[in-house]
Amino acid sequence: MKEPLKIWALFACIAAFGAESPFANLTPADLARGRRLFEAQCAVCHGIDGAGGSGANLAVTKFKRAADDAALVSVIREGIEQTAMPAAWWMSERESVQTAFYVRSLGRAQMAKVPGDAANGKAIFEGKGACASCHIVSGAGGSLGPDLTEIGARRSPAHFRAVLADPAAALPEDFLMVRIVPRSGAGPEIRGIRLNEDSFTIQIRDLSGGFMSFRKDQVNLTKQHGQTPMPSYRGKLNDTETGDLIAYLVSLRGEP
């Protein structure tokens, strides 16, 4: 265990929840088992520390989708429809409770405040950083990049810091830039973001926002894995500005 003291304190705290909680009567061995299960099966989306990735940031004290501990166990067992969160149907009941027990511990272990001035961060987002030219927040902004209205619920401050310095470092799994050249040689090279693809066709949005559709046997298609039109902010924003911007991003939880 990385931080035995902290985890022990947390265990004592959770054990005090009493008989109502599915975590009543669990032991430190259950917590350790939950951690092994989490790191093997959940961390790929939620991050090894639970601070988010393609999946939600779980290092929080309140979950949007699980009002209480029993609901958290249900989410693990049943998944969340219309999202990438699968049902861990293969876990035994005990294993899902152990995993939930560990997930609950993540938020209690990491309640550190994010430094930075979110209001100033918002000004940078909309002004100097020009982030809003490509990203929508609460309905306003450009549509080239992903909607960031709820991004603070899914990503950690550390993730924001890494992406601002090197945007290609943590692209969403289904994000793909493509380069397309018609085989006929009739048209110019087109660059864009893949919107959809099947075995025979591909649909993209080009960098000016236009929709285009191609038959794959009529073009030379290059998939540009690891590429993104988002610029690096390394050297463009100073440490204070970066901290403020991160504080703003963390505050974006889709709540008014």
């Binding site: 876990m91 289904d174 075995s199």
Partner: protein
């Protein structure tokens, strides 16, 4: 009635004599999924267009293979609905809708059905609550209803039954619920059970010693995909599923017979003639319930009657179908679990390939290099066409405690998806397993293929593409975007003398013609 049964047997066996009908799940008893129809060809398939579309009545995935009898299609809809459709227009003639118990749960699979069987004027369907029901083909009225097993313990039927002479053969699902698997035969006229073959041998039976203590009682070995039949040998060939629990084999040391096997049974008595186990002591959920395809092949210079199977474990096998002798086994997709097969066909398993708590990366994924969806065999090209899933997965080992009617899995997986996985249609030389051609798909498919005497192979994709390939070369010749994901097998039939192709996609059944 007797005359009708014999008539159906003959027509299924000799379906080349009745090319416009599709009388059994895989098209013929040899499970070729091959249509003898020749009107649609590589030269004209570009003109193929939808003739009609039927939208199913409830939500859920449509996995049915329609049967076609003299212009009428008999299809199943999710969860357990049987419908007769006018093949000319797609208009419904009747539906049988089963009221399912509220406490019914399918464990490890969706609420699907893959099709019916037909004999004379009776249609047979297996139900999600594990009954076998006989329906009047003219009206959908119930003729008889037999309980095959108790659904409370995770028993369930999704496969199409197989009619053999005067019996209806049905498999059972429940391999993730710790059932003890079996294959059943029922009298087609009365619904009375004629025989049961237990895929997990009980005390005193041969093979029982491949289980430890009580583990055989929850040993799995489901029979959830329709098998094939050789009328000359009077043998039924049926694949069996994974041992239980799936990914944690600690409680069941031994080979765990007859899981992950092919069994050859006397059609009249259900007696075991021979068995071949593809994956002894499986802990990756590699059911061997794939379609056993009966072909004549020249193996090492000798003409043999063989059964071919592209197995979920990524090897292609040829067995002598008279005695089960292993003739050939060769990988047809990426695999990282076996060094190869020994001269008896037993895999030489590599170390450190079993599931762990941390996860063990192995190809293929637990869904296998192929799965329940059908391969096709063309007696013209002598190629076996297989829809291949080339995908790895991290296998997890977990706890497994048997509680009736709940998951008894002992682990799971996380697949390597996206651009790390691929799907393909592969054409194998059926005598050698060697690759003749391959056609790439955007993702690992859940759809099977149909081969035709016209020289085409039809297949589907997860992204809704229904397409035709040249059976000889794999060249893409035609494609239609159905707008729904495809988890089904195509078939072909005639109405008004014209060849049609039918396939389920999304919530629809599409029928195409020139």
């Amino acid at each position: 009635m007797k005359i009708a049964f014999i008539f159906t047997l003959l027509t299924i066996t000799l379906s080349a004599d009745e090319p416009g009908n599709w009388l059994t799940y895989s098209g013929n008893y040899a499970a070729h999924r091959f249509s003898p129809l020749t009107a649609i060809t590589p030269a004209n398939v570009a003109k193929l267009k939808p003739a009609w579309v039927y939208q199913v009545q409830d939500s859920g995935t449509v996995e049915t293979t329609p049967l076609a009898v003299d212009g009428i299609l008999y299809v199943t809809e999710p969860p357990t609905v049987v419908t007769a459709l006018d093949g000319r227009t797609g208009r419904r003639l009747w539906s049988y809708r089963r009221t399912l118990p509220r406490d019914l749960h399918t464990i490890g699979f969706g609420r699907v059905n893959r099709g019916v069987a037909i004999s004379g004027d009776t249609v047979f369907v297996g139900t999600l609550d594990a009954h076998l029901v006989a329906l009047d083909a003219k009206s959908g009225a119930v003729r008889w209803d037999a309980e095959v097993a108790d659904y409370h313990t995770g028993h369930c039927i999704t496969a199409a039954p197989l009619v053999v002479k005067d019996k209806v053969i049905t498999g059972i699902s429940g391999g993730e619920a710790g059932i003890r698997g079996f294959l059943d035969a029922y009298d087609a006229k009365t619904g009375k059970r004629a025989w049961r073959f237990w895929t997990i041998p009980g005390p005193g039976d041969a093979g029982h010693n491949t289980w430890t203590s009580e583990s055989w009682k929850t040993g799995g070995g489901s029979t959830w995909v329709t098998g094939s039949y050789d009328p000359d040998l009077n043998l039924i060939y049926w694949g069996t599923g994974n041992p239980g629990p799936d990914w944690n084999g600690d409680s069941r040391p031994g080979d765990n017979l007859y899981t992950c096997s092919l069994v050859a049974l006397d059609a009249d008595t259900g007696a075991l003639k021979w068995h071949f186990q593809f994956t002894p002591h499986d802990d990756h959920d590699w059911d061997s319930t794939e379609i056993p395809v009966l072909i004549d092949a020249t193996v090492r210079g000798r003409n043999r009657k063989v059964v071919a199977m592209a197995n979920r474990n990524a090897f292609y096998y040829l067995l002598d179908r008279n005695n089960g002798e292993f003739l050939l086994g060769t990988p047809y997709s990426k695999q990282t679990w076996a060094k190869g097969l020994d001269d008896k066909g037993r895999p030489v398993v590599l170390p450190d390939t079993s599931p762990t708590v941390e996860g063990t990366l192995v190809w293929p994924s637990l869904q296998g290099a192929t799965n329940w969806f059908s391969p096709a065999y063309s007696p013209i090209t002598k190629m076996l066409y297989v829809a291949v899933r080339e995908m790895g997965a991290y296998y997890y080992k977990g706890e497994a405690e048997y509680k009736p009617g709940t998951f008894f899995a002992g682990g799971g997986e996380r697949v390597l998806n996206g651009d790390r996985a691929r799907g393909l249609i592969r054409a194998l030389d059926s005598s050698t397993g060697k690759l003749k051609w391959e056609f790439p798909l955007h993702s690992p498919p859940w759809s099977g293929v149909l081969a035709t005497a016209g020289g085409l192979v039809f297949g589907g994709s997860n992204e809704g593409n229904f397409y035709a390939l040249d059976a000889a070369t794999g060249k893409s010749l035609w494609m239609f975007q159905t707008g729904g994901d495809m988890e089904s097998n195509p078939m072909s039939f005639t109405v008004d003398g014209q060849q049609h192709i039918a396939v389920a996609a999304g919530h629809c059944i599409f029928v195409f013609s020139l």
